[in-house]
């Protein structure tokens, strides 16, 4: 997050240099090209579309429909493709943009463009085109991750690549018409492994305990094995998958740097709180996933403790540093960021706790989940306005994230 307004008073050389070869880019910052602006706007549009339609579709599944949209055809498509819209159209596109920005290759933006357009096709009722565009997106995203591994061969970059392959498998199964029991473990493995890889990278800052790395590999191997088994042996696969999720929550609780950074202040503490709250939901999701596989009615708990409690909470934590990087929007951090975070977690308690045996409460909780996400969007907009008003206040800088 950057809190600076002053432009450079002079020209900077600003060279980004490849260690093993010639200078990759030596760019002077200026106005982006028209093509870049069009791509950015298109990506923004498809990300927003997938998110909004995915939420609307999810609410309809629980019997909550926005009045003006009750008879809209797209809403029916959105309800059918809720998971694909949220995981591939929204999260997959955002992660694809993140990785494309990191590798600084124009071609890398093909991955988020394809996944974003996949979401659009799904909404228009073009299910096959949407599904195969998702496959194309995952292939491109996997290639981008190969580039990352070539640049830095490390445990966390290899895990990111494995996460991309999990997305590719999930998208292939989706395109081939398999059901959610087979597909969802792979889609969530993509998201969970992406987060786990990034957290593993951070643990390098702490004194590495010998068990940290191999225990994470064991947990993630179990996760992938559970995903693979889910299509052919749903009970065994689901129990293994759920156990791996719970074990990952334990691993993060023991080894993650949030145990330290939660005692810092400002944005750092906020990010740690988001993550720690997410780890709690990850443990709940693991238990519920295993319980669902054994026949208990805990599917909503498993999917949304994971998707909203773990992943969206983590996204809320990282948005203040990621958005400035991928959308070039500058934000002012403040305690008001805790409001949507609290709303998300409280609404999840309502939906997944009290609503477990009471469908109306579950629907109310889901509605408040959507309100929490809308509140977060408003918070981001407010933070952008606050940055412009509070231009460069001395002593409040919380500059960029360097990972």
């Amino acid at each position: 997050m950057v809190h600076r307004s002053n432009e450079r008073a002079r020209q900077a050389l600003h060279g980004l240099v490849n260690p093993s070869g010639p200078r990759l880019t030596s760019q002077r910052r200026g106005a982006p090209s028209w093509a870049a602006v069009v791509v950015r706007l298109l990506l923004l549009a498809v990300v927003a579309l997938s998110l909004l339609a995915g939420i609307a579709g999810g609410l309809l599944r629980l019997g909550v429909a926005l009045p003006a949209t009750t008879h809209a055809a797209w809403l029916g498509h959105a309800a059918l493709a809720h998971a694909a819209l949220m995981i591939c159209g929204f999260l997959g596109t955002v992660i694809g943009i993140e990785r494309a920005v990191a590798v600084k290759l124009r071609a890398a933006f093909l991955a988020p463009l394809a996944s974003g357009l996949s979401g659009l096709c799904l909404l228009l009722g073009q299910a096959q085109a949407g599904a195969w565009l998702g496959v194309a997106a995952a292939v491109a995203f996997t290639a981008v991750n190969v580039v990352v591994v070539q640049r830095q061969r490390a445990a966390h970059t290899l895990l990111l690549l494995v996460g991309a392959l999990a997305w590719l498998i999930g998208n292939l199964l989706f395109a081939l018409g398999l059901d959610g029991v087979a597909i969802l473990p792979w889609w969530f493995a993509f998201l969970v492994m992406t987060i786990a890889a990034e957290r593993l990278e951070m643990t390098r800052l702490m004194r590495r305990r010998p068990a940290a790395q191999w225990s994470l590999y064991a947990v993630l191997s179990a996760l992938l094995l559970g995903a693979a088994c889910s299509a052919v042996a749903p009970a065994a696969g689901g129990v293994l998958y759920g156990t791996a999720l719970a074990a990952l929550a334990l691993w993060l609780g023991i080894f993650d740097i949030t145990r330290r950074t939660v005692f810092s202040h400002g944005l750092s503490r906020y990010m740690a709180v988001c993550l720690l709250g997410g780890y709690g939901w990850l443990a709940v999701a693991g238990a519920a996933w295993a319980a669902t596989a054994l026949g208990l009615a805990a599917r909503d708990l498993a999917l949304h403790a994971l998707g909203l409690g773990f992943i969206v909470s983590m996204m809320m934590g990282h948005a203040p540093v990621i958005l400035p990087a991928i959308a070039r929007v500058k934000l002012q951090f403040g305690a008001f960021f805790y409001v949507p975070l609290a709303a998300l977690h409280l609404s999840l308690i309502l939906r997944l706790g009290f609503g477990l045996l009471d469908p109306p409460l579950r629907a109310a909780g889901a509605t408040f989940n959507a309100v929490a996400i809308a509140l977060f969007a408003a918070t981001i907009a407010g933070a952008a306005v606050a940055w412009h008003i509070n231009d460069d206040p001395p002593g409040t800088t919380q500059p960029g994230k360097a990972t």
């Binding site: 997050m1 950057v2 600076r4 002053n6 450079r8 008073a9 002079r10 020209q11 900077a12 050389l13 600003h14 060279g15 980004l16 240099v17 260690p19 093993s20 910052r29 943009i97 990785r99 920005v101 990191a102 590798v103 990352v148 640049r151 830095q152 490390a154 966390h156 970059t157 990111l160 890889a197 990034e198 990278e201 951070m202 800052l205 702490m206 004194r207 590495r208 740097i257 330290r260 950074t261 810092s264 202040h265 400002g266 750092s268 503490r269 990010m271 990282h318 203040p320 540093v321 990621i322 400035p324 990087a325 991928i326 800088t397 919380q398 500059p399 960029g400 994230k401 360097a402 990972t403």
Partner: protein, 111 residues
């Protein structure tokens, strides 16, 4: 205040402290430490025409590299003479390791 800078510096003594302080104002909120404490600055060289910073990141998959570079430039811009060009070079070799962390950073992370 802890003595700085914990990175190789070649250039006028008059700028050493100001440059160290400027780089220390660039913070990684994810780890709640400055980029100097994390050990991302590999070296600073100041000649008559140019201020050259060599820095790394801990991950090649990090999407906010440009923001860090921009922030480094902005902070240096504030404390150095306007005629001095600022060049920030991102390298991956040698790879970052925990040996580069400052004592303060290690204490914070429970070493």
């Amino acid at each position: 205040m802890e003595s700085r800078p914990p990175f190789p510096y070649k250039g006028p003594e008059a700028l050493r402290q100001a440059i160290g302080d400027a780089l220390t104002r660039v913070v990684d909120p994810e780890v709640a430490m400055t980029i100097v404490d994390v050990g991302l600055i590999y070296g600073v060289t100041v000649t008559d025409e140019k201020l050259h910073v060599l820095l790394t990141m801990t991950s090649a998959a990090c999407p906010v590299t440009d923001l860090i570079v921009e922030e480094v430039e902005t902070e240096l811009d504030r404390v150095t003479p306007p005629e001095l060009l600022i060049e920030v070079e991102l390298v991956w070799e040698p790879p970052w390791s925990t040996d580069r962390m400052s004592e303060r950073a290690k204490r914070f992370m429970g070493w």
